[in-house]
Symmetry: C2
Amino acid sequence: MSTLRKPLSPILSPGDLAPWYESMRVECLLNPGVFRLDGRIGLILRVAERPAQAEGELSFPYYSPEGEIKVRRISRQDPGLDLSDPRVINWRGDDYLTTISYLRLVFSEDGIHFHEDPAYPPLLPEGKYESFGIEDCRVALIGGRWYLTYTAVSPNGVTVGMRSTSDWKSFTNHGVILPPHNKDCALFEEKVGGKYLMLHRPSSPEIGGNYIWLAESPDLLHWGNHRCLARTREGSWDSARVGAGCSPIRTPEGWLMIYHGADRDNRYCLGAMLLDTDDPSIVLARGQEPLLSPQMPYEKEGFFGNVVFSNGQIVDGDRITMYYGASDQFICRAELSVNEILDSLKQGK
Amino acid sequence: MSTLRKPLSPILSPGDLAPWYESMRVECLLNPGVFRLDGRIGLILRVAERPAQAEGELSFPYYSPEGEIKVRRISRQDPGLDLSDPRVINWRGDDYLTTISYLRLVFSEDGIHFHEDPAYPPLLPEGKYESFGIEDCRVALIGGRWYLTYTAVSPNGVTVGMRSTSDWKSFTNHGVILPPHNKDCALFEEKVGGKYLMLHRPSSPEIGGNYIWLAESPDLLHWGNHRCLARTREGSWDSARVGAGCSPIRTPEGWLMIYHGADRDNRYCLGAMLLDTDDPSIVLARGQEPLLSPQMPYEKEGFFGNVVFSNGQIVDGDRITMYYGASDQFICRAELSVNEILDSLKQGK
């Protein structure tokens, strides 16, 4: 299959953006949502910023009671510091993260060269369910309005938050639409059987796993009839976790869904599934091989290497222009063919 | 506070019921939902049954492709057997549980002596989200119809299922209303601010914990606007997990919620919280001390000792007749006073 990385090198790197927060630096660019606006292609990037680290000190961002991101600097010898859990910094009994993630908009006329536009400020964390940051935003255009579903992280857990907009300048915050632990939420861009649909990825501390689920809604705000759509596959590239990319693509043969899968070594690849047109809870086909796996140097090495992860694409007839994050550090671009993917699924590849 | 265990001994023990499944035995009676029907009090018990175990063999229940519970007997020397995870039996790559739970109805004229009624058969697991069993059913009477929310366990994870009935003989299955990992779901019995409300308890594999959340719905089927209501309290009897009991009680001072809390030694107690009448996401008061803690021999020793757990009660004016599970084995009964609980919350106890 002709999975064409175009252009070959990353199209965006952390050095391309100035930090938004004072005294921080841009550590990572991750996993953009994609949309079209006024003839341009827009990316909504996840940007992770980290305070500069001084010798003998540990500096980390925190959310002030006034709702502002500030930086705390403490000595590495501070007796209140507990670094026994590698995922978090515990200081005086409270958990903090090393970086803060938010969402930033860039635009392009050719889909390759992206730049900021001062008319479109970033989307920052808001309130008690986003105080550790917001991540990996999917964009769905439904009824002339864009719905943004993203991972909202706070001491309350990892949830799915939603905002919507008609102009990318003012946004309505719809709160937490899926409780912990959930992420990778992608809305269908049209109703099926009279209901809105979403793909989502709950995770279990015991029994079950990191599987893709389907849910339905009368209004995009309230969700029910949850069904497990796809589980991990033992011994495969998607053995440890799977999660939806962005909105599935309607084709004459069903809904084409691009998804990510990871194995127990945390190697992330992208694959494809075909869902029944009228009842997308039925998986008609699932690829044996990945569509895209970490092969280029910038996909194999970076902030968190051996990762390709996509949650945004533009579809134009047969052509999918997919934007993806590489090594949790760079933004890349690839072109794929809908028909080639469908053919490969039919051939059982 | 006069928390009166009445009568003192358990009102139901496993030996009081014959097993439902052939060649199984009743291992545990657990955590009943409670309702009134035709002048009687009904309990919907969780019953856990286990196959008799022969020397050198391991026998466990499984769900056949035809949807029936069967028993598999294998040698303890079977090379396909993996018992490394204490929570499950893994055999030839698939997980099984040691017991199967289902829901069984018993009735009483005096609220103390319960008996079965052949007109009301048990509720058995149905379909792929209940194949490991159904547990801990809450009952809410809304608009003349009873809504049953319960824990549905399967290889897909631990979810909340819902069925409803108008006669306790035929039931509508509404499927999975909350995705993994979730349990302890209690509906409010009336709308607040034009919306149905529920309490639920998602659990996180990382960041967050085992906290009580509030959600709202236009139709009882689809749920959104999830908000974290109450977290665990470090150093307290409810330091490791908390979860709602049954439907909160409307009082002139707010919604009175009885909940369970456990510490890191898995000692389960019952406590109280008061929620704002118009906005139940606001916790007005939370008791420092438990309402009920394991003290009696049958509460301290049993299938899983040091547990009192309630998800069902009858309210009659000031009197709460609470039914509760003890040591995951027995069904007990206690009487409490609404006003005494409210007074204790006001006094900060």
